[in-house]
């Protein structure tokens, strides 16, 4: 069972690239584009690690 990573990043290019790299490395990845959606995802399916950008809309 692969480790679960949650990526929270508002920039689409960066988020998609990070997700792709992590998937290539064999992780199971979920992504959100703002803090609120990230919190929702994290609560629904608790990840092993969260990679989160700082200073994003809805990230307080």
């Amino acid at each position: 069972m692969s480790k679960k990573v949650l990526v929270i990043e508002d920039n689409n290019d960066i988020r998609e690239n990070v997700v792709e790299i992590l998937e290539l490395a064999g992780y199971s990845v979920e992504a959100a584009s703002d803090g609120r959606a990230g919190v929702d995802l994290a609560l629904k399916n608790i990840p092993d690690i969260i990679l989160c950008d700082i200073m994003m809309p809805g990230a307080e």
Partner: protein, 399 residues
């Protein structure tokens, strides 16, 4: 008898030759005698005056009132001019007027009363007085003029001051605008740069199977260019934070050897082929009280300069030393060195030595190092010989 005659002659001579005018009138104001000085003053011949009312020598309104003055004195016995004298105005035959001092005495003579008037011309005095008054007025004008011009100067100065403070204000606003722009631009540039870097890594990954050295070469070039750009943007951001006074050192106690070993390891990865970073610590203790982040930044900067400006197959000596109350950090390379003429400008922002050729750089690194060191009460210095190498030291006092 003879002596009385002589006395009368003497008196007459005195009166005739007196400088002041003298005339006598009877109780009704009729002129009985007038001396040459008086006739000359009023411009009449004696026969034009004698037997006439003395008021002919006065301008209006005194002329019509003179009889009244005499009657009042005779009725009340209260003198207004007799015995004291005062300044009055005389009327010449030609109609002009002149000021004079009039002293009147009443004389009982041969059983009747006569009045003797002594006339002292004041024209000259008045003129002098007038001149003095004019002069005083002129002086006042001058003072006023000067005061006015002084006031104007003060106003001009005040205005200049306001203009200066206005341009200072504008400069400050421009500075803030520049700050906001640099910080916005640097942040906004870094985001797409990160995306490019990640894409380059992915291309690298996907291209592995093609086994094409050209793909690998160009991906490496992209990554290298991104690295340079990121360094520049980081320098800009650091400088901006320093300029805005936003960098505050947080002093903590930490192990200098541990930090230095970490840095050496990290820098060894980005060093050129066969460039070896040799780290060594001297001293029995290794704990310092500094800002770990700022110090790391300083050393990073110095070592990346050493890597950048020296060739492959060289050693970079990185030393830390704690001796007595001093901590000395040294980074020494065998690189291109700094020309002597450039050495005094090395810590100025955006300055680069003239022998850097096409080696990329902003000229900000050493400026930032010096400022970070100074925030931690340290001092940066260097020794350099062109084509032999450069040795940078940061000196901290541990007291």
């Amino acid at each position: 008898m003879e002596s009385i005659m002589e006395n009368a002659a003497l008196l007459k001579a005195i009166i005739e030759n007196a400088i002041d005018g003298i005339l006598t009138i009877d109780e009704s104001g009729i002129v009985e005698s007038i001396n040459p000085a008086a006739t000359k003053l009023f411009g009449y011949r004696p026969d034009e005056v004698i037997g006439k009312n003395v008021s002919m020598l006065m301008p209006q309104p005194y002329r019509v009132e003179h009889d009244g003055y005499i009657h009042r004195y005779q009725r009340t016995g209260v003198p207004h001019i007799i015995g004291t004298g005062r300044e009055v105005i005389g009327l010449r035959k030609d109609g002009t007027q002149f000021p004079f001092r009039l002293a009147v005495s009443d004389v009982d003579f041969s059983g009747r009363k006569i009045y003797a008037g002594f006339i002292h011309d004041l024209s000259r005095e008045k003129e002098a007085e007038e001149k003095l008054r004019d002069y005083a007025a002129h002086l006042e004008e001058l003072v006023e003029e000067r005061t006015h011009s002084l006031k104007e100067s003060v106003e001009a100065l005040q205005q200049a001051k306001e203009e200066v403070s206005l341009s200072l204000e504008k400069e400050k606003e421009l500075g803030q605008l520049k700050s906001r722009f640099v910080s916005m631009a640097s942040h906004e540039f870094r985001t797409p740069l990160s995306a490019i870097q990640l894409s380059a890594s992915l291309i690298d990954k996907y291209a592995e199977n093609f086994n094409n050295p050209n793909i690998a070469k160009h991906v490496a070039k992209i990554k290298n260019a991104i690295g340079n750009l990121t360094t520049i943007l980081n320098d800009f951001l650091s400088l901006e934070k320093l300029e805005a006074g936003k960098v505050e050192p947080a002093f903590t106690k930490f192990d200098l050897i541990k930090l230095a070993e970490e840095i050496t390891e990290e820098m060894q990865i980005v060093a050129k082929e066969n460039q070896n970073i040799i780290y060594q610590h001297t001293g029995t203790t290794s704990v310092v009280n500094l800002d770990q982040n700022l110090l790391k930044n300083c050393i990073f900067n110095l070592i990346s300069n050493a890597i950048k400006y020296s060739g492959e197959n060289t050693f970079i000596e990185f030393n830390t030393e704690i001796a007595g109350q001093q901590c000395i950090i040294t980074v020494k390379d065998n690189g291109i060195g700094i020309p002597e003429a450039d050495q005094k400008y090395m810590f100025e922002a955006f300055f680069r030595a003239h022998n850097t050729g096409n080696i990329p750089g902003t000229g900000l690194g050493l400026n930032i190092v010096a400022r970070y060191a100074s925030l931690m009460n340290g001092k940066v210095d260097f020794k350099s010989v062109v084509n032999h190498g450069t040795s940078f030291t940061i000196l901290f006092s541990l007291t």
